[in-house]
């Protein structure tokens, strides 16, 4: 079935909960305003189950009710994973056979971002969500530059390490800083390398969506909840499997 509605406790009931704040003092008019907003969002009837003043000028609401919108799952667009998921063992084997050397990955938090949780979860041996990080893969050489790395420094280190892939993480994202920083990074690599020698560019962070790769100028974007195994599998696919027939590309 491709047409669905939200589920409360009965199929088709369309029940949704939401919470929000309106910049008005708490009174009957405020509650009416909350209902009006919910109605306009397609929730009808809307039930204000909780309203609480926060200081003299704001009111917080929790609202329940059915929404009259339908969702057509056949029209949802997602990027399906287009590479096979490999175990660390299989990934190591593929690199050893296909590349006959270790694959070098350079990672960093770029710009002013000091939040290394993302890059560390993927790269540190400790890993994330029960999966070991890239450092655990014997055939991966992992260079984690840490936090607040300037883009020119990243390019310099990428050259020095003969990087096959660059991983950048962006967590702090006020005013679209994550987008600007990543664009700056991809532009710098495109300028410093020719297209066929350029390392694979990967960006990750909770504010990115996979469809942003083109806009950011990177080869792949990983969003919230990505595990190290997914990143490793992608790198093997992009750098070993797909490029098997052009082994001479690395001359830089």
């Amino acid at each position: 079935m491709s047409i669905i509605r939200p589920y409360g406790d009965t199929t088709g009931d369309g029940m949704v909960q939401m919470s929000f704040t309106l910049p008005v003092p708490h009174d009957k008019r405020a509650e009416g305003a909350a209902i009006q907003l919910a109605n306009k969002m397609g929730m009808d009837p809307a039930l204000v189950v909780h309203a609480k003043p926060m200081g003299p000028d704001f009111t917080f609401f929790v609202v329940y009710g059915p929404v009259n919108h339908l969702v057509d799952t056949s029209k949802v667009e997602v990027i399906e994973r287009d590479y096979p998921l490999l175990s660390p063992k299989d990934a190591n084997l593929a690199i050893r056979k296909g590349l006959r050397r270790r694959l070098t990955v350079v990672g960093a938090c770029i710009g002013t971002d000091a939040h290394t949780v993302g890059i560390d979860a993927i790269m540190n041996i400790k890993g994330f969500a029960g999966e070991k990080g890239l450092e655990y893969y014997r055939e991966l050489k992992v260079v984690n530059l840490g936090a607040q790395v300037a883009v020119p420094e990243l390019v310099r280190r990428a050259r020095a390490e003969k990087a096959d892939a660059i991983l950048v993480s962006q967590v702090v994202t006020q005013r679209e800083a994550h987008v600007l920083n990543t664009k700056e990074m991809s532009a710098a690599f495109r300028e410093a390398y020719s297209e066929d020698t350029r390392p694979v560019l990967v960006a990750g962070g909770p504010r990115f969506t996979e469809a942003m790769a083109g806009e950011l100028g990177v080869d792949r974007v990983f969003g919230r909840g990505t595990t190290p195994g997914e990143v490793a599998s992608y790198l093997v696919d992009a750098l070993v499997t797909r490029r098997k027939h052009t082994p001479s590309r690395r001359t830089a």
Binding site: S19, G55, F60, T112, A114, V117, D120, V172, Q174
Partner: protein, 522 residues
């Protein structure tokens, strides 16, 4: 403060051993700090002596003057001798005119000798003493206000962060937070300020994920919270960050503007900002001497280790860092009541007995540092975006804080890692704290873990692991341990990192009037 009754049967000999190892590990670092100076320590002396403001490009006059003097005579003698020598020679009537002349190249600096040196030293000492008198006055002012308005009724004190980037937005948010129950307001800094080698000037309205620390922003926020203190009948404390490349200058500005708490960790800048280790330790010692004098409570950053390393496996690195922070702090003149040693609720919630482990770690810290106002930091790593689960986790964090008598409680937000806190997030978070403290705030009176139970054994285990690690650090040297990635899994060699070019080994004639006065009083 909740006075910690001895609830964990820790062997006093083991505890003494831990402290003595921390002293052994720290002493060589203190010696290095005493043998070096940095551009920021020297600029802090100029700020203490009253040099403020910036040129038309926004470069502070302290930087302009320091750079010129350094180019003429080097950094290794300290700036005080050449600067006050120029003033005694009549090159300018005051520091500010001297800085302007220096910037245009119309004054040349020299290292005075003999009687000239004696005169320069006396003049520099007088100027620094005048600055310290201002700091002392601020401290008395705080004491008066606390006497008049009172401290919070409950422990832990409730610590809340505001961070809009715009000081004029921060002010109403901070006042609203105080009205809603916050006892301490921390204005988080703009991302990246720690890497600026100057302190921005004036009131600022542009920042990334935080507001710049400037003298004027400090003044504005302190004045607003003084207003709130009068309105609410309790003294609202203000916190900022003495960290990064300008740590000594920011500490000085905090003393001059009566900030009450400053984040000031001994190793955070090294590990998480890749600032050179020597630069950090030199800057840190001076900052802590100023904080000691100004009556400022420092907050250390052990919580950060647990955001990069596993909170169970790395529990002992927190204890080791607390012991080192304590040693460095006391050496610099800080007293127990000024040590907001940090720790955090970051154990993976899915592991069995995670809450009991948290209690064990929190009680260990409480008992090792019975007179310090420990700073208890909320979960961040395991806040997944599921705000409902996050709200429950924060409730358990608050409960652990209440059960173990923590001094300062940083309020956790259920939207951690999702958005910067909304007004409703803050309100819900404070409700959570109020409920837990109201319902269980005195639970620590009844809570006595079994002497041989899980909690007591775990605490002893962490303490034993801490001693093992301290032993290794003493053998290896703390700088090498940092270089090897012992803390937070970051490897930071002593000959690399930011700010290294701003470090100089002191010459035999080095003179710093501020350090002289601070150490005389100690």
């Amino acid at each position: 403060m909740t006075r910690a009754v001895k609830k964990l049967d820790l062997d006093p000999v083991t505890v003494r051993k831990a402290r003595s190892l921390a002293r052994k590990a720290g002493r060589p670092i203190v010696n290095i700090a005493k043998q070096h100076t940095t551009v920021s320590v020297e600029r802090a002396v100029l700020r203490l002596a009253g040099l403020a403001g910036a040129d038309t490009e926004g470069i502070p006059w302290v930087n302009r003057l320091a750079d010129t003097v350094r180019a003429d005579v080097g950094l290794e003698h300290g700036l005080a001798l050449p600067v006050w020598d120029a003033l005694v020679r009549g090159e300018a009537e005051d520091l500010s005119v001297l800085a302007q002349k220096a910037a245009t190249g119309s004054v040349t600096f020299r290292l005075p000798e003999g009687r000239d040196a004696v005169r320069a030293r006396a003049a520099a000492r007088k100027a620094a003493a005048a600055g310290l008198r201002k700091v002392d006055g601020r401290r008395r002012e705080r004491d008066r206000m606390i006497k008049k308005h009172g401290d919070p009724d409950q422990r832990p004190w409730i610590y809340l962060i505001v961070a809009t980037g715009d000081i004029y937005e921060d002010i109403p948010q901070a006042q609203a937070a105080a009205r809603a129950g916050a006892d301490i307001i921390a204005v988080i800094r703009s991302t990246g300020q720690s890497l600026l080698d100057y302190v921005p000037e004036g009131a600022t309205r542009e920042g990334f994920a935080g507001t710049y620390a400037t003298q004027e922003n400090f003044r504005l926020m302190r004045a607003a919270l003084d207003e709130s203190s009068r309105e609410l009948g309790r003294y609202i404390r203000l916190t900022n960050y003495a960290s990064g490349l300008c740590m000594p200058e920011i500490a000085t500005l905090a003393g001059l503007q009566r900030l009450d708490m400053m984040l000031n960790d001994s190793m955070y800048g090294i590990l998480f900002r890749d600032i050179n280790p020597i630069r950090t330790f030199v800057d840190q010692r001076f900052s802590r001497q100023i904080h000691a004098r100004a009556g400022i409570i420092i907050n250390t950053g052990e919580d950060n280790y647990l955001t990069t390393a596993d909170a169970v496996e790395a529990a002992h690195t927190v204890t080791v860092s607390q012991l080192l922070n304590e040693y460095f702090a006391k050496e610099a003149g800080l007293e127990d009541w000024q040590l907001g040693l940090g720790h955090a609720f970051e154990i993976t919630p899915e592991i069995p007995d995670s809450f009991r482990l948290e209690l064990a770690h929190a009680m260990l810290a409480r008992q090792l540092f019975p007179d310090a106002p420990l700073k208890w930091m909320p979960p961040t790593r395991h806040m997944t975006g599921d705000v409902f689960r996050g709200y429950l986790l924060d409730g358990f964090f608050n409960l652990a804080g209440a059960m173990t008598g923590q001094g300062i409680l940083l309020v956790g937000m259920m939207t951690e890692a999702v958005v910067t806190p909304w007004i409703s997030d803050r309100d819900l978070a404070l409700q959570n704290v109020r409920y837990v403290l109201g319902a269980a705030g005195n639970l620590h009176e009844d809570f006595h873990p079994a002497p041989d139970g899980f909690i007591a054994n775990r605490a002893r285990q962490v303490l034993a692991e801490s001693i093992d690690l301290l032993d290794r650090i003493v053998d290896d040297g703390l700088l090498n341990a940092i270089g090897d990635g012992t803390f937070g899994l970051m490897k930071r060699p002593q000959d690399a990192g930011r700010g290294l070019d701003g470090v100089a080994r002191r010459s035999p004639v080095y003179y710093n009037p501020a350090i002289e006065l601070l150490e005389e009083a100690q």
